[in-house]
Symmetry: C2
Subunit: 333 residues, 2 copies
């Protein structure tokens, strides 16, 4: 029996004392000027559109190498300080086959450095296809010899209902991996569907006439799906994505879903502060991990330095202390 993914994640958070995930939403524009200069013509701003378009062209190797140097530098600088990496696959798919090579290398390197790895892919499909996705990402075990794109956790979208989720649950149970299901997203129009008040003929909770927002109903299902994957830490390997940008919703979900761990995006560039998201943590300051992407990986831009790794480390320390302060105030309150 493998360790449950959620126990590995919470132990890593305890060890570092830092509930932060490093979001590697890496793109060419984020490289510091010196690295772009090293790329010469292919790294110039005029060529970026071209580069993104190259697909699996061999000229892409230099770009792949530069981007991997950037990701590796960030991982090396932060692996002792930040317990977890979240790799957003869109930024890699944009670069075609070259990007997917980089995606895989990045997942494996972060794992090698002892970080918990979240592949942020938001996959979703019918059962037979969900099973294929689960085997692409959630094989766990020896990891490097494992799935096509091995991760400890993936993000998924539950619009298909339980039979699009069950194959992921089976993979998690078998392989000691985990999922985060989209519940309340961080973007401005999150509420367009997620806030709609829902009921079914019997009322969504059993009692006739019960009503709640869609995102709460999805959250309750997430809690139910996670019952068989409950860790020693008191949380389940079936977590929820809850945007930092919605303080009230975060607080309500924390109360409604006491054993569901939250992956919380939206801190930093998306506008949420530590105070906004602190309601996603429980009374012991546990139960959530906060992702930051651009504020960490582009920290060198604000600091006007080419030393992106040190800039990211400074910002990660600032963010850790910011989160700790807010959590301490919250648990005292």
């Amino acid at each position: 029996m493998s360790t449950l993914a959620i126990d590995r994640l919470t132990e890593a958070i305890e060890r570092t004392g830092n509930p932060t995930a490093l979001g590697l939403d890496t793109r060419i524009e984020y490289l510091p000027p010196s690295m772009l200069k090293d790329l010469g013509d292919i790294g110039s701003l005029e060529n970026m559109e071209y580069l993104a378009n190259m697909g699996n062209n061999p000229e892409n190797d230099a770009v792949e190498e530069a981007l991997f140097t950037f990701n590796r530098g960030l991982i090396d600088a932060l692996a002792d300080l930040v317990p977890c990496v979240k790799v957003q696959v869109a930024y890699y798919e944009m670069l075609g086959v070259t990007g997917m090579k980089l995606f895989r290398k990045t997942l494996l390197y972060a794992k090698e450095k002892g970080m918990i790895v979240i592949a942020d892919v938001k996959r979703n499909d019918i059962g037979s296809t969900a099973e294929i996705y689960a085997s692409a990402y959630l094989k766990g075990g020896s990891f490097s010899a494992g799935a096509g794109f091995p991760a400890d956790f993936v993000t998924i979208n539950a619009y298909f209902g339980v039979d699009g989720v069950a194959p992921f649950l089976s993979a998690c149970e078998k392989n000691g991996t985990g999922i985060f299901v989209l519940v309340r997203t961080s973007n401005p129009s999150a509420g367009e569907f997620q806030d709609l008040i829902v009921r079914d003929a019997q009322g969504v909770k059993g009692g006739q006439g019960d009503e709640r927002p869609l995102y709460e109903q999805v959250g309750l299902k997430v809690a139910q799906w996670g019952e068989a994957l409950m860790g020693r830490c008191g949380y389940s390997s079936v977590g929820a994505v809850v945007g930092a940008t919605w303080p009230e919703e975060g607080k309500r979900l924390r109360a409604l879903l006491p054993r569901v761990f939250f992956l919380v995006p939206g801190y930093g560039v998306q506008g949420a502060t530590a105070r906004d998201l602190v309601g996603c943590f429980d009374g012991q300051g546990r139960g959530a991990i906060v992702n930051a992407s651009r504020s960490l990986i582009c920290a060198h831009k604000n600091r006007k330095t080419d030393d992106f790794a040190s800039a990211a480390r400074d910002e990660a320390l600032r963010m850790r202390d910011d989160l700790r302060r807010a959590i301490a105030q919250n648990t005292r309150a």
Copy 2:
């Protein structure tokens, strides 16, 4: 100004007289015995798990070649008969970087043979990431020099609301590409969330107290998002995924969304018949395309032949006639 994707799709359907999409959900187990034998040890059943695990291992080249031979053979056999190919990315992601190389090659080859290409990826994210996804898939134009994984259409999931969809709409407008948004999926638990009755404070339609199932509300938004992308054919480049397995829902959606084109999965192995899905077509027998994957690409298995291409062609002809018959009965009725 590029041709609208929906006009290209409907013209291709008219030309072939066949509203069918070839679903290339290709996996090693689907190759005919002779091709597996040619692969020798690496194609044996015992090694399939290993193969799927290999990621970007060089030994994978033989498998990639065999799978591409299979896809190319299907495309060559069907390009004059079937107007459209839908490539389900999960089956390619499962094979890691090798699979993504195969995915790209398959998209480009189908396009080269004049088919309309749907990348079935069901992507979804916040606006800035949706923009990245759109540039990965929907650059249109010269196509082979275009996006990382170029397609005429992608499938998307709208749980994020309009700001996760808008970047796809911009790409469609700029590049003459299109999207299909998940509305009512074909799987058994589709209704778990999609059938929930929704309302907002003002009622979902404006009049206080209006209520409808979530999938209808998503459908109405799809219609609205598509208004700026209306084709000469009377349909929009912003289509909907509507499962063949739900005859009543399909009929209701057809009436509710008269200018939204439907991509209809679920025919064949998933259990839907032509009669089940015929309500997705309009009174002129237009407005929908029906996907079949396993029933076409595995037709050789039922027919006990290694000639997978001829078997797929026979089945495609049978399916075309089956659809034509049902549509003719429906438009007379």
